[in-house]
Symmetry: C2
Subunit: 242 residues, 2 copies
């Protein structure tokens, strides 16, 4: 049955992407934003350490939603709350709220890894491409505009009102595309993400991002039986468009 | 506060589009698909009348969901059910199911009104643009690929699990974009759609589509106090990008 697009019958029809770290370089971008914020407000912040501490609160903040300790909150809101906490810990809780809110939205202004925009455009010629990120819809919309990412739809945590690796996130994405999991390829630089998706029947592609955590720490290395292990998204495109 | 994109501060930030009739020419496309289907299966179908009858079942089929008479069903499913009903009424219920399913997905292959693709690309340079259609996500994804429509996200009935003019559809779209209704402009060729959105505080733009129902019936004419009344999407773009 034709689904009205360029679909590879019986095979993978959609590529679902983790975004932070996999498609965009969150750390260098957040370091840059924190540094500019500190300069603008004449405060002393070690930008690399601050960026790592902020990202360090990412999993704990989502875990409160995952565990049911609190109701659904979008990642924009969790980012703002974590930022307030970090600033307060440093005695910086008197900064203008508008400026703090703007910094909290720095996650909408992350730069892509260099090859991501062109690789996504190539992949979209044959496959449906969508983020399946923990970022909320508005965050992903603005990030795509900033980083020139071409998506067919914004899927991920918010449509499911759950955070990865909750199965609901992956299964909601496949259901919205009306595809069974085995016709969806989850693409990520993180073993946990791929492990969760693979357990549900999704196909999996690991992408190496050795610089995700900066030059002094190593990115994840593949630790699972994945359908593809790629050097970057251009390499993945070469192999999927063979 | 910068939201990370090209946002007109204090004004309209997002354009939300009705799609069937407003952005794409459903009738000419469905007539073409029905005619091809009839030829392929050697059956006699008056394609224009069949297309109108199919669209005639659109509101009644959604009304069963709106009224609570049955649970959420995506428009792809309603289209298939209506098609089965129309074929059965004509004594044509013995056709291959795969062919009937493919015809039911003709709504993913509608052609755009001629100026729609370029106008959407222009509008996206300044505004977030998204469909707020009764079509489900997969339908809208494939339609956008077929008709070369550029969207930032797919919003509409399915994320709300409700059908327009249920307020939940419009309010869910604004909430997913994290915008108040007054910063969203609903664009449609239909008074009922704009009336429902306007009552919730959305801004409104009526687009003339005199040929929506074919050459022998007149399209809707504006019957309300709208922020904009445009000849087509190129005209709307000219005025919004002034």
């Amino acid at each position: 049955v034709s689904a009205g697009g360029a679909i590879v019958a019986g095979g993978v029809a959609a590529l679902l992407f983790d975004v932070f770290g996999t498609v965009v370089d969150w750390r260098a971008s957040i370091v840059r934003e924190v540094r500019a914020f500190a300069a603008q407000h004449g405060i002393d912040l070690e930008a690399e350490a601050f960026a790592d501490a902020w990202r360090g609160l990412y999993q704990p903040s989502m875990e409160r939603v995952r565990s049911g300790a609190e109701p659904w909150l979008a990642l924009d809101d969790l980012h703002l709350r974590s930022l307030h906490q970090l600033l307060a810990e440093r005695g910086l809780d008197g900064l203008p709220e508008e400026a703090v809110l703007d910094l909290s939205l720095a996650w909408r202004r992350l730069d892509p890894w260099p090859e991501s925009p062109a690789a996504l455009r190539r992949l979209r010629e044959r496959y449906v491409v969508a983020p399946v990120s923990n970022g909320n819809v508005a965050l992903m919309v603005h990030l795509a505009r900033h980083a020139d990412l071409t998506w067919d739809a914004i899927l991920g945590a918010e449509p499911a009102r759950a955070y990865k690796p909750d199965p609901a996130v992956y299964l909601t994405a496949a259901a919205l595309l009306r595809l069974p999991p085995e016709r969806c390829l989850m693409v990520a630089a993180h073993n946990g993400d791929l492990c969760a998706a693979g357990a549900l029947g999704f196909r999996t592609a690991f992408v190496h991002r050795p610089l995700e955590f900066g030059p002094e720490r190593q990115g994840e290395t593949p630790d699972g039986a994945y359908d593809f292990v790629a050097e970057d998204l251009a390499d993945l495109a070469d192999r999927l468009l063979d």
